[in-house]
């Protein structure tokens, strides 16, 4: 099962080799999440309108390995933007990926950019 986790590694903006064109902006719920398919990866993308920022992370929750984080609710924990897994409400920072209410492994995060009304996610491969 660790193999699933191994497919997701944080990508920094400087490491991006591929900007994957995911979908039109209008397809992303405001202040909510959706899931984007890229090769064999599932990426959760959040249009955090209140902060005027987009975030992306792995869709799989490291707690029970279910592909559900995109269905979670977003918010902030003392200013840190976060997502809460819908299964057991484990929360993760959308910036560092860190598990904010426990000591699960951090989740991988990915850069997002919006150009010409399209949402792009950055991958290193």
């Amino acid at each position: 099962m660790d193999t699933i986790l191994n497919t997701y590694n944080t990508v920094k903006e400087s490491e991006v080799k591929v900007w994957f064109k995911a979908a039109e902006v209008s397809k992303f719920a405001k202040d909510g999440g959706v899931c984007v398919k890229y090769k064999d990866k599932q990426i959760a993308v959040f249009n955090f309108q209140r902060r005027n920022h987009w975030y992306a992370c792995q869709n799989v929750c490291p707690h029970k390995m279910e592909m559900v984080l995109s269905r979670g609710m977003i918010g902030d924990d003392k200013g840190i933007p976060k997502v809460a897994c819908p299964m057991h409400k484990k929360t993760f920072s959308l910036e560092s990926g860190e598990n904010l209410n426990g000591d699960l492994e951090a989740i991988a995060t990915y850069p997002v950019k919006v150009e010409n009304n399209f949402v792009y996610i950055g991958f290193s491969e």
């Binding site: 979908a23 202040d31 398919k37 390995m65 279910e66 609710m73 918010g75 902030d76 976060k82």
Partner: protein, 842 residues
């Protein structure tokens, strides 16, 4: 140069860990290097809550501290490594892998193992002990295998003590028929008297646990695996699995081989400094024989750890208490059992006051000194809510009422409480025995330590983090202390809203706020979170009867997808079947949908049908078919009305006094879609035989001579509660009128996620007050409540219908935003003739 001394801790269990935890916070700790050896593969975990592993299979959640904690504190943790020898002459130890380490101080925290009596055949397959996570994994795997070949498989527990009963509950939860076999003539022989035991036995039997007392097992039957147990020549039972829980034996083998002084029946002898006969070797926890006793509880073990830490650091005043408190409360089993102080009372010491009510499986016994001034001990079965207070009265010798029976019978005068509040106990009283926290420490963490709420106090003092039994009293102390400082005791919602739910409800209503952004910008701060967003959504729903389709991003995840998320990320589908009445045609449609989408189907406790395993993408199509056939959303996902259960009623039943089904349908249709602080359920029975179990619901209606009796605030589930009588012999219209008022008042005033039973408990004045408000209209709000309810009823619409008729909404149910694919990571496995998600082993 400073001389770093080496401490080796053998055993990384609860007490060995506690030693490390207490050690590293001391200033002098930097002069020592600690190395810990654990035989188990993982770092120390919370054995006391071992049974939780059955529920969630989450070993990590039980960890006392993650591996990184040991690293951070410069402790070397070597797991999977048993220590095999101690060489006192050279002050070294060797491990199973032949590694050698030398020590200045040695701490033996090797705990104990389950005692397995030498019964013939006990080595057979299917016989387990109950001590480690691996034991549990073994049991679970074996139970699964059994159930596949025999759905009625049985499991016995050998030993009817504290642990045995916990194990019995565990095997019951695994789906096996539980049997408890006890050698003595009573259950929990060390804690209960015969009458108490028989009340408990009764209660456990009604829960489905079979109890066999006075049985000496002389043989385990079966070829390779266990098939039964034999007590006498003609006395046997058939069982397919056995959990031995017949006591513990200290893991004292290391002490024995290196020549430490041992007890005659095992255990390494220690003095009140926790030193063994070799002053540089300490023993703590369940391996240590103190006062000629092994204490099978964590609290004394933690105290021993504390003493050993101070002794090694040279703070010699810290000594082990001469008397060890063995009071206990049974957890988990679903029936309150507690025993404290001296449960049995020799006549020369005092007298007993006993209260027993067989119809309610209640038994209370208190033992009082001859002069009637001191509480010496007691037993509580069926209702142990007074345990914490009694325990404190006993420990601290607090005064008791002149008429001691008031302690268990309650004071006669209305409203006066028989004994004082938690604040009356002395500051030195130890409230949390696991973490040794006194009442004084709890209160001063607020008055002087800057704590502002329960969470702060827990973080600072660690109270409640052991067995958790002290929590109710800690909550009282924290609230009372805050009040005494003039600080309002606030259950504010979360970091984003400094209001209680009730207050926020008022503000949103008055300011007519309609969106989450409006609400947080007007009366909160930050961006919200998974606590306040659904709460605000639920308030909007109660005020405007919006469906969960409005602002779906602030809805609880289940509301957002109008379905309950299941173990593998698929969803369940539950159409409404009001009152449990359904035509054959509609049943056929459900069958066809289930078949077409390959769903697992099951009849629920609420008299309807649950279809499991629907992929997100399929939900709209499934619902379209159901809605076309005349179904509506059952709101099984929502914090709203679930079902109104009914018995078949006077149209068929020869005892029925009224049309329970008809009335149940009417009520279910009236309140369907009504969103509230928590889910709520109803029941309608057509006679006092109560086949609909209406009194286990948030509202229950029972037909009697001359009308209906209306009961409210009942609950099934984890904390069963009978609903209480609100009004008698009333007609249909009056039932609806009172229900409207009751629900609306609950919706307005309850805290989030508070069921009606807890709400009613907390309501000042309880049911009497509620009767005044609902029946007598003492607050003069009845008309307003009724109008509000009628508004909500009129605004109802089926949210699934709404969702499938709107393309934007339908797109929410696509798993990928950029592909029509479904989630291909979902794996199902066969189960009986249907499917289930693959297990979470990961």
């Amino acid at each position: 140069m400073k001389q770093i001394k080496s401490i080796l801790v053998i055993g990384n269990g609860m007490v060995g860990y506690k030693f490390c935890e207490k050690f590293v916070v001391k200033e002098a700790a930097e002069n020592f290097k600690i190395t810990v050896f654990g035989e188990e593969p993982r770092p120390a975990y919370d054995r006391v809550h071992l049974s939780e592993f059955f529920e969630n299979g989450d070993a990590k959640a039980l960890e006392m501290a993650p591996r990184s904690w040991y690293e951070e504190h410069n402790i070397e943790l070597i797991t999977n490594e048993r220590v095999t020898d101690i060489h006192r002459a050279s002050k070294t130890i060797t491990t199973i892998n032949d590694k050698t380490f030398s020590y200045d101080y040695l701490v033996l925290a090797t705990g104990s193992s389950a005692f397995v009596p030498a019964i013939k055949g006990v080595e057979k397959e299917g016989v387990f002990v109950y001590r480690t996570i691996e034991d549990l994994e073994g049991m679970m795997a074996y139970a699964d295998k059994l159930k596949k070949s025999n759905p009625d498989a049985k499991a016995a527990v050998l030993g009817g003590g504290l642990l045995g009963l916990e194990a019995a509950k565990a095997v019951m939860d695994m789906g096996l028929e539980p049997h408890v076999v006890e050698f003595a003539s009573k259950l929990m022989p060390r804690q209960l008297d015969t009458r108490g035991s028989s009340v408990l036995k009764n209660k456990l039997e009604t829960m489905g646990i079979h109890i066999h007392l006075s049985k000496a097992t002389n043989k385990i039957l079966g070829e390779q695996s266990i098939t039964g147990m034999e007590f006498g020549e003609y006395d046997k039972i058939n069982v397919d699995m056995l959990v031995v829980s017949a006591g513990i034996r200290p893991r004292d083998e290391l002490g024995k081989t290196c020549g430490l002084k041992m007890g005659t029946r095992g255990g390494i002898v220690v003095n009140n400094k926790m030193q063994t006969s070799d002053p540089e070797i300490f023993a703590i926890g369940e391996v240590a024989l103190y006062n000629n006793m092994i204490y099978g509880l964590v609290a004394p073990g933690y105290e021993m750890a504390d003493v050993a830490v101070d002794q090694i650091l040279g703070t010699s005043e810290t000594l082990m208490s001469p008397d060890i408190d063995m009071s206990t409360k049974l957890k988990l089993i679903g029936v309150d059992v507690a025993s404290f102080g001296e449960p049995f009372m020799p006549v020369e010491k005092g007298y007993s006051i006993i209260f027993e009510n067989k119809t309610k499986d209640l038994y209370k016994r208190i033992n009082v000194s001859h002069d009637g001034k001191k509480l010496l001990g007691g037993i509580l079965i069926g209702d142990a809510s007074d345990y914490n207070m009694f325990h404190q009265i006993y420990l601290n010798g607090l005064p008791i009422p002149e008429d001691a029976e008031e302690l268990i019978l309650g004071a006669r005068g209305e409203g006066s409480s028989s004994f004082g509040s938690a604040m009356d106990i002395p500051d030195a009283a130890q409230v949390c025995s696991c973490e040794s926290v006194t009442k004084g420490a709890i209160c001063s963490s607020i008055t002087e330590g800057g704590c502002n709420n329960l969470a702060d106090v827990i973080a600072k003092t660690k109270v409640t983090t052991g067995c958790g039994g002290c929590k109710p009293m800690v909550v009282d102390l924290v609230n009372e202390t805050l009040k005494s400082l003039g600080k309002e005791v606030k259950n504010s919602i979360c970091e984003h809203f400094e209001y209680t739910r009730q207050e926020l409800f008022g503000v949103i209503k008055i300011k007519k706020l309609k969106t989450f952004d409006e609400a947080i910008d007007t009366c909160g701060k930050g961006d919200g979170c998974e606590i306040c967003k659904p709460l605000v959504a639920s308030i909007f729903a109660s005020l405007y009867n919006d469906t969960a389709n409005k602002e779906e991003v602030i809805q609880d995840s289940n509301d957002k997808f109008l379905a309950n998320i299941q173990r593998n990320g698929t969803y369940s589908v539950v159409p409404r079947i009001p009152g449990g009445e359904i035509t054959p045609d509609k049943l056929i449609v459900i069958g066809q949908v289930g078949k077409k989408y390959n769903l697992y189907t099951k009849i629920t406790g609420g008299q309807r049908i649950d279809l499991f395993g629907a992929q997100l993408n399929d939900l709209p199509a499934i619902w379209k078919e159901l809605i076309d056939a005349g179904f509506e959303s059952g709101h099984a996902y929502g914090k709203s009305l679930r079902t109104v259960k009914s018995c078949v009623g006077s149209s068929w039943c020869r005892y029925g006094m009224d049309d329970s089904v008809g009335f149940a349908i009417e009520l279910e249709n009236r309140y369907k879609g009504l969103r509230s602080p928590h889910k709520f359920k109803g029941g309608v029975s057509a006679c006092i035989r109560e086949c609909a179990e209406a009194r286990g619901k948030d509202f229950g209606i029972i037909a009697v001579e001359g009308g209906w009796n209306l009961y409210v605030g009942g609950n099934g589930g984890a904390t069963p509660r009978h609903a209480q009588l609100l009004a008698e012999q009333i007609d249909n219209e009056t039932v609806i009128k009172y229900l409207d008022r009751y629900f609306m008042y609950y919706i307005r005033t309850a805290a989030p996620l508070m069921r009606t039973s807890t709400w009613l408990d907390k309501l000042e004045g309880g049911i009497d007050q509620l009767i005044k408000i609902v029946v007598d209209d003492s607050l003069n709000i009845a008309a307003e409540l009724e109008t509000e309810m009628q508004g909500l009823v009129d605004a109802y619409q089926c949210e699934w219908k709404q969702a499938i008729e709107n393309d934007d909404m339908v797109s929410r149910f696509q798993h990928f935003v950029n592909s029509e694919d479904t989630d291909d990571t979902i794996v199902f496995v066969p189960m009986r003739e249907q499917l289930q998600p693959i297990a979470w082993d990961k």
